[in-house]
């Protein structure tokens, strides 16, 4: 009964979303507040219904109702409760329902927004309704998670054990909040193009309306990608955290477009300039999100993230992607030349710096797009198969981003309209000098000596120091009495702190990524009990291997001690788990956190014994500063959240309170 309620709610939500699109469009044409209000109601109701449907699906998983095909295919009675719940979004159908939940949820938030002018809001609600109707019909007609099985099996087929992991349980919801959050930016951009305001005062306000949505989505996406990367790091047991895998790239493209959007929306908000470009990026970010959904779900790519799907569904997703993005960009091509507005600015100015930021971020996104799709296109066009992997991105993406990051610290110090390059150089002089010292120090201290890695460490330091220099400048640190500095620090808007934090976080990430990539040490050896392997200064000894039983798996568990000369010895456990339900094995990495470093231990298959004693293939990585790789993006996301709470983005809230 509960499952039927869910199915019914899902179909009703589809009808309401379609209704929302139609009524809002009619309300906009007739300028009728009543119709617009009804459309807003439909949007909120539709989100509520999807929430009911989603709760029903989770319920079916919790009680292991195997008469539901999706539950039978993805769950098992032996599975721990967390993964029963998480399996609700672990499959194609369930994750699509999650997608719809976030889409309608953001749609409801848009419908409740108080500060938007009538025309813009109604057009945006109509667009959001259309997106909702499209994705909901895709769900209902091709991927209904509530389809029943008759007869129901006694036991389910369980979830891919690689996905039975806490990080992966929370990775999709956060990721989807990011992906689909951009749909509101998309709808607001479409609405802005429809409203096509000729007056210049429209765009600064629009920039302010679109920015919170972009900020929130980008922050969610940052944490979502971070969790996915962390999962790949400790679950796959390959010692790496980013593989330039097509599916990783699919999530990275909207992130880059979103980051560009955040920055160009600032220009539009403050100066009314770049209106067309900001609209373009708002369309692009969600287009990349939909492209990612297509790539992952169509079967054109295969990876652990890819859901087992048939090409027919892929074609439908491609149609949705092509239809919505095609229409939106056609609208853009038609309307953009008529967009007016915006102040002028000199090339050397805050605006100019943000344009350069956008230039490089979009070029970087184009690189990731090319690297991801090119093998598919080339194979379709000529039959030739190529692989595009890390070396390609190291030669294209990395230099592009390096230039962008070198320029970055100057941007926030430049004045709007016309900047003073000489002044900026002076104000960054200390940071630059310290950066050079750090790079030289890194070159001298780190073994083996690598000039490029040392320069990379300098780059990370430059970002952090540059961000600090900017804040120090604004609060007149050491240049004014302490009381004055504190007063200024208190007066600094949250957005400014958010920016400093995000830029410094980027620097932290660069430090971690450079040091880990440049100086990691790997060692692999078959070990019998009592033998040890050396990775850099770490000695890893295999103490014991035993069979342990988990809730739904059997594992060969190795206990190993990690020791360094003069350091404390710590014990780690690493497992190879066998899941009888699906017949799969996974590795559980043993991680020894040592300050910023990781000692990463994988116990592999039994090796052929050399002298009769059983032995196991043990791989050990010493990943220096690996902690920063995951800390950096967290700081960046925190910066985004701080900016989100900036009073300036919530002026309308204050106005509303004052009016009440």
């Amino acid at each position: 009964m509960i499952v039927e309620t869910g199915a019914f709610a899902l179909i009703l939500a589809l009808a309401l979303s379609a209704l929302q699109a139609v009524i809002a469009a009619a309300g906009r044409l007739r300028r009728s507040p009543v119709l617009a209000g009804a459309a807003n109601g439909a949007a909120i109701a539709s989100a509520g219904l999807i929430a009911v449907a989603f709760a029903a699906l989770i319920f079916a998983f919790v009680v292991s109702d195997f008469s539901v095909a999706n539950v039978a295919a993805n769950s098992h009675t032996d599975k721990p409760m967390l993964y029963k719940v998480a399996a609700a979004w672990g499959s194609h159908e369930g994750s699509l329902l999650l997608w719809c939940l976030v889409l309608t949820g953001f749609g409801a938030a848009l419908a409740r927004a108080q500060n938007l002018p009538f025309g813009l809001k109604t057009s945006a609600v109509a667009t959001q309704g259309l997106l909702g109707a499209l994705f909901l019909s895709f769900t209902v007609f091709t991927s209904n998670p509530f389809t029943r099985l008759n007869p129901a099996p006694f036991q389910g087929e369980s979830l891919n054990p690689l996905l039975q992991d806490p990080a992966l349980a929370f990775h999709p919801p956060l990721l989807y909040c990011g992906y689909v959050g951009f749909s509101v930016c998309f709808s607001l951009a479409v609405a802005a193009l429809i409203e096509g305001r000729a007056n210049a005062s429209f765009w600064p306000a629009w920039g302010r309306w679109v920015r919170p949505w972009a900020l929130a989505s980008w922050a969610f996406l940052t944490v979502g990608i971070l969790l996915g990367s962390f999962w790949a790091y400790y679950e796959l047991g390959w010692g790496g955290w980013w593989f330039w895998d097509p599916v990783e790239n699919a999530s990275f493209m909207p992130w880059l477009a979103g980051a560009a959007l955040l920055h160009s929306a600032v220009v539009t908000e403050r100066r009314g300039a770049l209106a067309g470009w900001t609209t373009f990026l708002a369309l692009l970010a969600f287009t990349f999100s939909m492209l990612g959904a297509f790539l992952v779900r169509s079967g054109v790519l295969t990876s652990v993230h890819a859901f087992a799907v048939d090409p027919e569904r892929g074609m439908m997703l491609l149609a949705i992607l092509g239809g919505t993005a095609g229409l939106a960009f056609a609208l853009f091509a038609w309307r953009a030349p008529q967009l007016k507005g915006g102040g002028m600015f000199a090339p050397v100015s805050r605006e100019g710096a943000l344009v350069i930021n956008n230039l490089f971020l979009t070029a970087a996104a184009a690189t990731v797009l090319l690297g991801t799709l090119y093998p598919l296109i080339l194979e379709a066009a000529s039959g030739a198969t190529i692989s595009v992997g890390p070396p390609y991105f190291a030669l294209t993406f990395v230099p592009l981003m390096t230039v962008a990051l070198l320029i970055l610290p100057a941007g926030p110090l430049l004045a709007w309209k016309r900047g003073d390059l000489k002044g900026v150089t002076q104000r960054l002089a200390i940071a630059a000098a310290l950066t050079v010292v750090m790079a030289l120090l890194a070159f001298a201290v780190f073994e083996p000596r690598k000039a490029l890695s040392a320069a990379g460490i300098g780059l990370g330091a430059w970002l952090i120091l540059g961000a600090l220099a900017e804040t120090a400048e604004r609060i007149k640190l050491f240049r004014a009495p302490l009381a004055e500095t504190l007063r200024r620090a208190k007066g600094l808007p949250l957005g400014a702190w958010g920016m400093t934090l995000a830029h410094a976080g980027l620097g932290v990430f660069v430090l971690g990524a450079v040091v880990e990539t440049g100086y990691r040490i790997e060692a692999a050896r078959p070990l019998a009990i009592g033998q040890s392997v050396q990775a850099g200064k770490w000695t890893v000894t295999l103490n014991e291997v035993k069979i342990v039983e988990g809730p739904n798996y059997l594992a060969e568990q190795g206990r190993l001690s990690v020791a360094s000369p003069g350091g404390r010895t710590k014990e780690v456990t690493a497992e190879r788990r066998f899941f009888p339900a699906g017949g799969q094995t996974t590795t559980e990495v043993g991680l020894d956190f040592r300050g910023l470093d990781d000692v990463y231990v994988v116990v592999g298959e039994r090796a052929q014994a050399t002298d009769g004693a059983p032995a196991w293939n043990v791989r050990v990585w010493w990943n220096p500063w690996a902690r920063l790789i995951f800390l950096g993006p967290l700081i960046m996301a925190l910066g985004g959240v701080l900016s989100l709470f900036d009073r300036r983005l919530r002026v309308a809230v204050g106005a509303r309170k004052a009016a009440a």
């Binding site: 915006g342 198969t385 992997g389 390609y392 592009l400």
Partner: protein, 163 residues
Amino acid sequence: MKRVLLIAVAALGLIAAEPPPAPDRPLPDAAQEARAQRLFDDIRCVVCQHEAIADSPAGIASDMRGLVREQIAAGKTDKAIREDLVRRYGDFVLFKPPVRIGTWLLWFGPFAALLAVGAAFIAFARRRKTEVAPLSPEEEARLADILAGQELRRDPDAKRSDD
């Protein structure tokens, strides 16, 4: 308990059914082994999903690692080893695609995109400089008003909404 035993038997059976690949034998020369490791990162395991042979547990990845080590020991250059792999498995085996007419767009596209977007910005700025008049004082005042958040709810071009 019986179930656990059954599972254990099944698990062991599975392990027994699939003999593990022979463990890697690192090259005795540390410099040569380091070269091999660097090569492993750029060579794709031909039966896996986007995995380098450095990472893959598959049997063929192990064979390919052995092949690379053999050739290094035989004194071949990295370039010759890569060419040999391409002869055997095609361009697919290298994570760094070759630069040829068919991949020009791939290799030069990113920089072309940078130049194109940059040129578009410059062209746009030039055109605007000639055609855009500065805001009138009245427009400036309204802009300031909106930025101060006073006028956000009212939109002179539309009816007031009731929501």
